[in-house]
Amino acid sequence: MFEIFGIPSQALFGQLLLGLINGSFYALLSLGLAVIFGMLNIINFAHGAQYMMGAFAAYLLLQHAGIGYWAALVIAPIVVGGTGVLVERLFLKHLRKLDPLYGLLLTFGLAIVIEGVFRNSYGSSGLPYQVPESLQGGRNLGFMFLPNYRAWVIVLSLAVCLATWFAIERTRLGSYLRAATENPVLVRAFGINVPRMVTLTYGFGVGLAALAGVMAAPIYNVSPQMGSDLIIVVFAVVVIGGMGSIMGAILTGFTLGIVEGLTKVFFPEASNTVIFVIMAIVLLLRPAGFFGRTA
């Protein structure tokens, strides 16, 4: 044990780790928002609710079908992503020619409905979800204790983020996607089914949110309101980073998580608000955000 700036290393690195964990979720969620925004030109307000659905899917799979964490990590994003596909087909499709703000309003309504339904069924108090057996325990790094599950969350979310970045920026499918973002009419003329691509993109973004939800389930309790508070912070993250770049969303997410963690150590009263304050400062100094094209 040693001290840095009068703070025990254990506390400092513990909060840093927590910040990195939060940052992983910010990155995953803002990445999903950016992908959806790129294709559909709407902000998915239901993103937080879909993240919560992912966590609940993992919980329900375990409770009712005895299906554990590892399978849930695959099944939950597919199921929740499937509901996303339905939402796109049933609702969002009809808003495509309208002002994008209608998409925001619609998904806001959906978020309220989803959260309300889960609250009616499972109450507001959090439900516990066990860390999978193979990731229980942790190791002592000398300067801090690192729980295995938390290390896994950081590694997995980094891997998923980078894989998404690779898929969009470096593969053929990704190039179709980017082309359709730029000019959907032209891409359609080349014989690519753009509406289906839009639907699947939304489903994919929702699936990412659900994956984050499954990963979050063992760390935070599973509760109906776990998404709505988080999504507002993620919006601030998105404003700070700008949605022009995938890598930008990832970097901003992780960085802000760390900044928030450090604030918890040095100035705990401000830890709830620091990201919003940073947003205000960024708006003053660099209105387009760090990686944004002017919107």
Binding site: F91, D99, L101, G116, M279
Partner: protein, 323 residues
């Protein structure tokens, strides 16, 4: 061409417009004067406060095309300051309301100044994030009383003469202030200033190229909207003798959006009708507990999908008048 948040209504000739609005206004006022004899006054006062809140919000969404997801901060913080001024500082109601409203104006200047630096969807996200920050400030500040809020706010004597503890006196006071607020909003949207706002809504680039300082206009509209939302919040604090976290929570911003959307974006009477409907829905469905939220969310979805003109907007469209 994308459809704007507000579809321009059927162009009606000015005289007809004035007549249909005049008739609607007279009917509304007559109903509101008779209403407290038939309906619980507290309910009416609540609905009136929200009507003013929704009309203030409509000034932005309906006439400038700016969607704020953070209007709860103006409503809630004005409510806190009025409650604090009346209870702790012992100020008379008129001064307490003034302090609350002024707080909202200052807050509007700061939040608006930040938010108008970005457009469209970003504007909505920024206002939401700033409102969430103000929510946390309210949660942590000492004077707001945390989870308990500020309770038992005295209504006091208006100008030292009228005792607002009388339910009818209070009702008339609220009615007069809200009507004055609504008339002010009507005056704003029909002034040359209001015409410029509509021009910005229809085509911001063109308004800029015509030499209007668009940012300045947006900021003034934002501050006006915030101030009037604050007035509504101040009144609400006196009506319920309570200021609480509910008033600054993002769900309150959602409520006011729903009221405006349900009644009709960019209509004069829509937000009033929407406010009465939503407040009625919340009190009559209260026994169903959490399901109220689900129903509200569903109404949101239906409005956006099938009903974008809102109730009053549809009515005006069917009658080919402006309401």
């Amino acid at each position: 061409m994308t459809e704007h948040v507000l579809e321009p209504l059927v162009p009606a000739r000015r005289r007809e417009t004035a007549r249909s609005l005049g008739v609607a206004f007279a009917v509304t006022v007559a109903l509101l004067i008779v209403a407290p004899f038939a309906i619980y006054p507290i309910f009416l006062m609540k609905a009136l406060c929200f009507a003013l809140f929704a009309c203030a919000f409509n000034l932005l969404i309906g006439y400038v095309g700016l969607v704020s997801f953070g209007h709860a901060m103006f409503f809630g913080w004005a409510s806190y300051l009025t409650a604090h001024a009346a209870k702790v500082w012992g100020l008379p109601p008129e001064l307490a309301i003034l302090i609350g409203t002024a707080t909202a104006a200052v807050l509007g200047l700061v939040a608006g100044g930040l938010a108008i630096r970005r457009q469209g969807i970003y504007f909505a996200m920024i206002t939401l994030a700033l409102a969430q920050m103000m929510f946390f400030f309210a949660l942590q500040a000492k004077f707001t009383g945390g989870e308990d809020g500020i309770q038992g706010v005295p209504r006091g004597r208006l100008f030292g003469i009228f005792d607002l503890n009388g339910e009818m006196t209070m009702y008339l006071f609220i009615l007069l202030v809200v009507l004055a607020g609504l008339l002010l909003i009507y005056r704003i949207i029909n002034s040359p200033f209001g015409e410029v706002l509509k021009a910005i809504r229809e085509n911001e680039q063109r308004a800029i190229s015509l030499g209007y300082n668009v940012e300045r206009y947006k900021l003034v509209a934002f501050v006006l909207s915030a101030t009037l939302a604050g007035l509504a919040g101040s009144l609400k604090a006196l009506v319920f003798q309570l200021a609480s976290l509910t008033d600054v929570h993002w769900t309150m911003s959602g409520d006011v959006i729903l009221m405006t959307l349900l009644g009709g974006l960019g209509t004069v009477f829509g937000p009033v009708a929407g406010a009465f409907l939503v407040v009625a829905m919340q009190s009559y469905l209260a026994p169903f507990g959490q399901w109220v939220l689900v129903i509200q969310g569903a109404v949101f979805v239906v409005c956006v999908l099938a009903f974008r003109r809102g109730i009053v907007g549809e009515l005006a469209h069917a009658l080919r008048v402006q309401l």
